[in-house]
Amino acid sequence: MTTLMAILIGTFYAAAIYMMLRRSVVKLVIGLILLSNAANLLIFTVAGLERGTPPLIPKGQDVIVGAAADPLAQAVILTSIVIGFGVLAFAVVLIHRACEVVQTDDMNEMKGTD
């Protein structure tokens, strides 16, 4: 399973970078979304894949019994999804405005400030 996930994550990174190298700004944004998803999946995988074992402490005990999924990784991923969502929402609005102002979505024509 971990191998499969590793291949999937690698594909995500590759696809993200491919999209970011395209000239269209819209595809650039798609690339950024894929990139943050790839990073989240990576954290999810390296923290250890546990199935059907929520990190809950049974009644009457003080510690978790047996193997359990790592809650910290999930909290980290949740946080970074939320942050990624906010930042990307902003990026979409920005690019929408930018396309209106510049009248193109071609990165090659946005050279005015170089």
């Binding site: 939320v82 902003f90 979409v92 609005v93 929408h96 209106e100």
Partner: protein, 147 residues
């Protein structure tokens, strides 16, 4: 190419939304208040509430959605952040580290036992902040379509 106008007014959505709206708002509050010990919380609650306003936007128009909210969404973000930041402070008065959760229990005559806490205050702040932030984005895009 002329940009397409924002127009998807439909009778079904319009009638349905007036029924759905109060339910969505209630559900968002439900999610907010059950959040500490059970699945839910300010973030999800805020998203549901923001979805309610967005539904209004789709069913009617931009102006109706803004009127429903009454305040500027950025002001909501501000109020939310103030509440969330204030949640950090009470711990200081009890000589504990900054942001330490404080719990108070109140016994009400009819409702029974009520637990109040700084995490709840923080969650309400998150709730308002999320509504404001999501709607700022939605409104900005809707405004661009409008003009």
């Amino acid at each position: 190419m002329k940009p397409r106008r924002f127009n998807m007014r439909s009778l079904i959505l319009n009638t349905g939304s007036s029924l759905l709206l109060p339910l969505l708002v209630l559900f968002s509050l439900f999610l907010l208040f059950r959040g500490h010990d059970e699945p839910g919380g300010g973030f999800i609650g805020g998203l549901v509430a923001a979805a309610a306003v967005a539904l209004k936007l789709f069913a009617e128009d931009y102006k109706a959605a803004r009127d429903m909210l009454r305040v500027h969404p950025l002001q909501l973000v501000g109020i939310g952040l103030v509440l969330a930041a204030l949640a950090a402070l009470p711990a200081l008065f009890f000589g504990q580290s900054f942001f330490t959760a404080q719990w108070w229990s109140v016994d009400l005559p009819i409702f029974g036992h009520l637990k109040l806490s700084t995490p709840l205050l923080f969650d309400i702040g998150v709730f308002l902040g999320v509504i404001g932030a999501v709607l700022t984005v939605v409104f900005t895009l809707a405004e661009a379509e409008h003009s």
